[in-house]
Symmetry: C2
Amino acid sequence: MNLEQIYHPVKPGLELVEAKLAEISSDEIPLLSQLLQYALLKVGKRVRPAITLLCGKFYSYDLELLVPMATAVEVLHIGTLVHDDIIDNADMRHGKPAVYRAWGKNSALLLGDYLFSRAGSLATTTENLRVIRRFTETLMTISGGELREGSQTFDMASARDSYYKWISDKTACLFVMASECASVLSGCPEEQVQALKDYALNFGLAFQIIDDILDFVGDPAVLGKPVGSDLSEGASTLPSILYAEKYPKDRTIHAIIVDHRKDLVPLAVEKVRASGIIDDCRSIAQEFSQRASLSLDKLPDCDARRSLKALVAFVIERNR
Amino acid sequence: MNLEQIYHPVKPGLELVEAKLAEISSDEIPLLSQLLQYALLKVGKRVRPAITLLCGKFYSYDLELLVPMATAVEVLHIGTLVHDDIIDNADMRHGKPAVYRAWGKNSALLLGDYLFSRAGSLATTTENLRVIRRFTETLMTISGGELREGSQTFDMASARDSYYKWISDKTACLFVMASECASVLSGCPEEQVQALKDYALNFGLAFQIIDDILDFVGDPAVLGKPVGSDLSEGASTLPSILYAEKYPKDRTIHAIIVDHRKDLVPLAVEKVRASGIIDDCRSIAQEFSQRASLSLDKLPDCDARRSLKALVAFVIERNR
């Protein structure tokens, strides 16, 4: 299934999300409008709104609640990207210059703050306290997780655990929140809310691992960033961790992370590519993807379930 | 009345706010804990929590609701300061290096995001939808307002109106939200909620005008920043606006704001000081202070009302 087929069950909902994003992007403050349009419109694959709507489609599919919710999730996500790109010195995002590159760091910082608040305000329109609470806490997990990562030294013994904790906080947590909020809003029984959260957690982990693989083997032209960007920024992701585990005497990764030897990044990328480690990483992503898929078996069979299963398969195959 | 006397009716509540802030500042992520302690503890005069508690003291003074609310207001406020200092290149805050100076820009950016989320989460514990909605929207007003200001050209005809809109968004808006949330949580009748909001708006405007006056006439050692910082950052505040209105042929202010002639800042400061404009600014702040005080007459006479009146008088007299 391609993405259009996967999204088909929630197509009208996704169109309403786009309309909502366009509505948000029109503000009486001209600079704010321009920033919002640049950051929010015609960017990305809308994976998070799609998952939100799909998770809300098993019981009462109330678009009055689910469209603001799905929009809130996307706006929060984009807010974190706007700030992340400042932190990571990223050049490109969604095939164009990152917001801070195009509009300056100060505007990007304020835009991120605005988006967080806007997202919270959208989530509040659901008037569901559990949903609002979960939504509000999510940015704590994401930003706190980044601070945890920032304070870590390169300790091989705990590297893999730290990595999973990190990608769980920075990536999977948003999917988990989206699945919980959507299923709660649709009146899903608690056991199935939990099953959708399990799906979302494993989906998010698989999604991020593939992202981290692509940083080693992806096409820079397609990704819009150079190969080895994570290592250059001092982040050891699954491929470099597995490499360092397999070849403990090779200090290349260690020298990059600990001694900031950025000149060694191309060599490390070559070594990881030649080592067969990327296949190991794909297998691990595949495992998370299977767990995600399995947890859906607790939910009624329907077009949304088929799409969620196809989506995690699609994510594993993606090359951008 | 000194600040201790003014705060007396809400002293036990303020102690609970301090305890809450200390509780928040202890996190399992070491770097996050250090950042939180640096940013949240033993800083500032806690004017916003005090106003929150005082506004909640006219009817049902329920500290179970008002302490999280007052803490949320302070945490949100400090989050905006952490980000503002990055934007303004500020050296000092609360008598010590700004968070980004002491811990780096990336950590400061993430800390701000964390604080926004933490504040929202605290506000959510009130379980009052009107309160949560108002709280959530506030950061939109603050960050949107900063983006409006950033996109403005120096237009004399609209300068004063733009200034009031700007300080209303960036400063008064938080006081207004605090007063509304606290009075709603205490079961205040709607007409009196409105009166407290009027108080808070005028209080906030007076508060910011005094801040802007001190940027011209304050003691740099007491303020922790050089005289003329606002002009140096390209911000025209009430003193420079009144000066440019009074002396339309003098292009000093214009040259600083439009042509970025920072070398002219000391001259502009001297001219404003010598012009008598500062007294005009004080009279305007005094007017807002009187309006604030007057609006309280719609509320029952009690220790909280006396403190709120004394607080706005105190703010007008402050030198830091």
